[in-house]
Symmetry: D2
Subunit: 472 residues, 4 copies
């Protein structure tokens, strides 16, 4: 039984800047939405490596003087996503190991589909593992690679792994930024005062006032050392398969990833929805924050009033514990509240980015009716999720996905909504450049661009795939 993590994370690396760790810290701050479970920074001071990791938000992990414990002018950092019940310090990243050429460190965003298979091979020849991270597979493969140089080791190791990775490797005198041949996850290159920065999203560059240079290309390993940057493409070319969910939900709207601005894409999704599924209504409201931009696009296209009919309490954090109580099950009410005066007697179109299990959406519909809405029409800016993601988005197993087990009409009934329309896959992809060809849509249509090696292995052994509980 696998209990590995799906790695939805944020990574940052800074090479040759006197305040490397400080910049990485700020970068992790800007990437906090990509992972709140743990945060860590590894640094390199004249070939000596340091590591500090901890559970929780970046700002909680790096209190007081802890940043001084990661000295040096090169550093890499990592935020891990929170999946319910499986958070262990040993799985926090970056990892830092000793091998025959000294020390190296790795920060990895993505999910490998053959990590378990490779791990079995490695352990069968005597390797030992201390975490359930995919990343530990990569460093093992690197340690055993024949190549003389660090980049040769990286190329040899990454040549064996399959799946999604956008990662940063730090040796004693360089960093490497690598992105898998399909380019599932974003990874960008920036520059600040002559120093190089690598980051999952461009919003990091805005915060630290770095200049956006370009994406790391799919299949590229970019070597950054004192002589500058050099590009390597050691793997066979593969079709681009960027994760469509980065645009739908995951990335920050102010980021520029996959060579497009997330904000604009989201608004365009809203407009496409309005074209596909307009209904006679009085108001368009978003489920905040995820539905705000597509709701704005919808309202604009439909020429309907846009209102913030649901108010979000931003103080709801990880530490909220529902009191043991008869009056429990506040659920989404702790986060959201409906504005009765806006909604009363109105026919409402409520816009969200996706439906996973449906329980939250059902509560929202009830909340709107309770606040006096006359009709509630749910519009979702993506097609139904029918299949689990194995490339790094933390989706539940198929039979927990309401889209996989219910028809749209049955989902509408479950939500008690007057209507429910999902954006079609065709229109969704139409709002992105080359959307039809360059994006992975496996969660909608089951077309997995990389074979699910581990999953087949498990299935062949009658094992069950890891049942994780994502935050809905």
């Amino acid at each position: 039984m696998s209990d590995k993590f799906h790695d939805e994370c944020g990574v940052v690396g800074v090479f040759n800047h006197p305040e490397a760790a400080n910049l990485v810290y700020l970068g992790l701050y800007a990437l906090q939405h990509r992972g709140q479970e743990s945060a860590g920074i590894a640094s390199n001071e004249n070939g000596k490596m340091f590591l500090e990791v901890g559970m929780g938000l970046v700002a909680d992990v790096f209190r007081r003087d802890r940043l001084t414990k990661v000295p040096g002018n090169t550093a890499i950092g990592h935020n891990r996503y929170s999946t319910a019940g499986q958070s262990h310090l040993k799985n926090a990243q970056p990892c830092l190991i000793n091998y025959s050429d000294g020390s190296m460190s790795l920060a990895h965003n993505g999910n490998l589909v053959n990590a378990d298979t490779l791990r079995r091979e490695l352990v069968s020849t005597g390797s030992i593992f201390q975490s359930t991270n995919d990343s530990e597979v990569i460093v093992h493969l690197m340690a055993q690679a024949e190549g003389k140089s660090f980049i040769d080791r990286a190329a040899a190791a990454l040549g064996q792994v399959k799946g999604a990775y956008s990662l940063i490797l730090m040796s004693e005198n360089e960093i490497l930024a690598a992105r898998d041949p399909h380019g599932f996850r974003p990874l960008c290159l920036g520059k600040i005062n002559g120093a190089w920065v690598v980051s999952s999203e461009s919003c990091v560059f805005d915060l630290i006032e770095a200049e956006y240079i370009r994406e790391i290309e799919p299949g590229e390993i970019l070597q950054i050392d004192k002589d500058g940057i050099r590009s390597f493409f050691p793997f066979p070319k593969a079709p681009m398969k960027k994760c469509v969910f980065e645009h739908i939900y995951f990335a920050r709207p102010d980021s520029f990833i996959f060579n497009e601005n997330v904000y604009s894409i989201r608004k365009a999704m809203g407009k496409a929805m309005a074209q596909e599924s307009l209904v006679d209504a009085d108001l368009v409201i978003p489920v905040p924050d995820s539905g705000v931009l597509s709701a704005m696009g919808f309202a604009e296209e439909a020429k309907l009033p846009f209102e913030m009919g649901l108010i979000r309490n931003h103080y709801v954090g990880r530490t909220f514990i529902e009191p043991q109580s008869q009056i429990r099950h506040f659920g989404v009410k702790v986060k959201l509240n409906a504005v009765r005066q806006i909604l009363k007697g109105k026919r409402i179109i409520v816009v969200d980015d996706s439906i996973v299990r449906g329980t939250t959406s059902r509560k929202i519909v009830k909340m709107l009716f309770d606040a006096g809405a006359k009709e509630v029409h749910v519009r979702i800016s993506s097609p139904p999720i029918l299949h689990s993601c194995f490339y790094g988005i933390d989706t539940p197993t198929k039979n927990e996905l309401i889209g996989s087990t219910h028809t749209v009409e049955k989902i509408r009934e479950y939500l008690n909504a007057d209507s429910l329309v999902y954006l079609s896959q065709e229109r969704l992809l139409s709002v992105m450049k080359n959307g039809e060809n360059e994006y992975c849509t496996a969660c909608f249509d089951g077309n997995y661009p990389v074979p699910l090696v581990d999953k087949e292995l498990e299935t062949s052994q009658l094992g069950l795939f890891n049942e994780k509980q994502p935050a809905d």
Copy 2:
């Protein structure tokens, strides 16, 4: 020299509900925006009182089993606002004291203007003080009141204090909810399964599924005990002077206070601004979150596109510590980021609720220009703040208020904006019912409805009023 707090806070009370403390906890959660410095709950179990207070957010203070330490079916709670540098546990509320009739507890929102004066009188006759809270003055006055009953003591004590208070008092067999004769701060009454709830704002009732009943009236002391509720008006009638800033900034938009919905008022402010100060522009954007609703109203009225041109990082919390660094002074950039693709080449109207010192606004204007804006027009949904508030809003001293020291044109120059227009006081008040008569506008026009007793005392002694640094 006074170092007392300005009390912008949230209060909740629940009488006779089996889960009193749990409900108060949830209520404080919903009122977290009114105070993040400390949180506390006092409860009453069969006449025995319990108190738990701590520094920080409600959810941090009441971790694990701490709620079980405030048993009983009656409880009151308090959130305190964070003012820089003056946070002490001893000032956290509720306060719980023993006096001749047993125990009592108090949670207070507002600021008294004669607390120092009363304190001097009290200590001159032998009273001792352990905090710098106004509230300690009130409980001293109650303890010394001649009256036989709790409500008589309360009336006697509150008859002596001047200024703003919306407070909840708990005796061993009742609670009292009291609001000063001018009604500066809001205070509402609700009902849940036959139990009474009192709260600063109505959003509490929505969360715990209580029914909104009415406001506590200015000058009213409402007694809630096993026999039900009884209303007392022991003070001379005074003109209503509700705090206009509750509508402009402080209250939650989903709250219904002062008999109006905050959301609607804020949108109306935006429309009024558009009528007063429209300029030729391409986009209206808010400073999130405070400017969102008025920007929406502005855009709607002006028929201009509304965009979220500034994205807020909601993970920026109290724990963020800027790293010691050459590259420091990220200031507002840690919280806000501009969306270049939306702003580039555009003439922008940016809407916020107020300007205190101007430093943040200046950074925002720069951020917008850096993101490519062609013109930046700043619109503020309230008049310039010229005077300090002594009734409970934490404003800096006059000479730190940019509105007090600079003309509007000079402020515009300082902000480097193409234009700057504040909403006129007349139009602002016009969006509220009886706005002209029933609201306190002292911060705009210096018409303090209650004489500043302590301040005069200090001035006469050549003392300086406490120089606090509010969060801008």
Copy 3:
């Protein structure tokens, strides 16, 4: 119902030394045995007072930079004793209050017998109380005293309280050290580099390399200010009634208190026991650490071998939590282990200082027999405790005292010991100078030198005296 504390505590004060708080911190360290529940330091820097208190050991409360928060060249400190279940931060000392003459702070060791009575009077005229400390009564009385000067106020207040106190008061420009007329608790004066130090025990002076000067006299108020020290005796003379338990158990053996060395007294008790109650045996062993010195005295006098037949695990601290377990009730075994090879087949005399409930002694006897002892003879270096202490030693109520409810023979049966002999009161007192006249022996004979005002009050109201559970 009273829930006040019995105050067995340690106090330290330093006047006019550049490192006042550091010295107080070290002093509290040396007095840690007198109280582990909470620790606090109040300081005075040019008339401005600072206070830091916390729950736990001195070294835990004052981590990192917290000592820098109590600046100034005068400081007083306090350790509070841990009584089960009643530890609240609000009861931690020193207390620091504001009154008509400014600020003052108090650290108090001892227990007043009329505190409740005085408190009732005070609250009946409008005073409010925030803690259940006796000390709060004293500061109220001082605040209301007519006297012009600080020492006049102190004399007026202390003239009204009855019972045991050894206390240190700090005003804005002096400190006072006061001891009640009977001199129940110790209090010493020392000198370090021209600065004055006051401390519960002389071991503090050893640690900070101060010179022992003398005891504060019973009934003395010693004023220490920039002009030096001055002695006042404002109260009627009373018979000396020093606490015999300080010598038996409470004080450190390396301390010189009540003008005698504790170590020597304890050894003399052991010798007296050997003279009174020698039995044919092979070994004398102590219950460590409390019985070590009297066991040594016993063995020496009896010319029997002395062995450490019970080994104490000094890592057992306050944090030990017995695991929830079938195999629980390790009780004293976690602290003590018997050395089988020493005890096997031997007739053992085991020496301890006292028996409170008897449960621990019973387990020890069992442990000795389990380790192979042939006979176990228990010798106690004090008479049976028949009566509760109301002057500051935390004893349980009478009916929990095994000495009060059982004859010595019944206690022996309960312990399963071969013999049990207590040291007679006469011989106990004989080892101290003027023992017969100058010591309080109320816990043995019920002769309370100060009438138990509060207790009578409670009894007359059919109230029950507070049932506290002391550590056995």
Copy 4:
């Protein structure tokens, strides 16, 4: 450069008891003296392994419900010794790894002398290391072992390591207890209600009421599984070389290790000292706690009075931080205080177990003279330490050992003592069974029974041996 730890630790294992983790917890408690830096427990519930480790004392690491996180009926635990400045969570034990046969866990006491050499070989073939523990070498060797069974793997791995180890290995269905062929460190077998317990010292059995069965033999691997226990001796027989310092200092006096009672050995050392080095004196006093038993033996043999002339403050813990201060350097005074009334005018023999750097002893001599001693004669219950230990006792490098750099007379001069005599090696060994043959005395005479492989490696590379600062 090596920065590995010298492993002086405590280990406990429990097989097949419903409260395995609880018993291990209590066992670690009893072994707290063997390591205070970190504590950890690994458990096995039906083949699934769990691990909890943390920095600090056992009772601090396992607060609240943490023991519930190590479920199952088999568990092993580990206490690590504190060495200054090198404490990292990643080095805490037990370690828990995944390898080709599943999971295994290891708790190790001792120090390998060829760990660095083996590590180099392992990394040269691609292994990666995450800690600087010797233990990680062992689990790597086991993972790579050809053998089919767990015990075969253990035998293969342990056949390659050299040095000292007493360790417990846990597979998914058994535990192994192994002791190196020389038997440097103790390891005992016990039984509780039919379940097996393994522990560094027998005091663990006393606490949990287990029966002491026997020692694990030098060179033995004891397999414990559901079928019972089986003994294996897979290594060539080697001369017994038990660590003499376990008897001198390290083990608890109530433990029975190396088939002898530590308490009796220590007293016998004292007697031997008296025979070798009696001097005309008035008193014998120990340096508590380490010198207590040998001082008692000395006094008994010399027929001189024994007194506790130095009192130890047992509240001095790891958290004590000397305040930044002019009056700093309290050093040993915070821990020890001299009893003036006992020492004044006396000729004192002060007994301790060893002298490492001499700084503490020097302060103690000064403290005794300051307290009035007329003469101070230092007696040490072991020979001078001339050589570093490489088998698990944390001694400083040779040039920091005062015994290595100074003659006894020069040491006496440094201490300012009237005389200084060490117990001779011959007499020391004479108090143990077969002492001359069965004990390692390398620290006294440099006869290292196992060649120092790593050290030679380092020396040949002109490396410096790791300069650690042991607690004196």
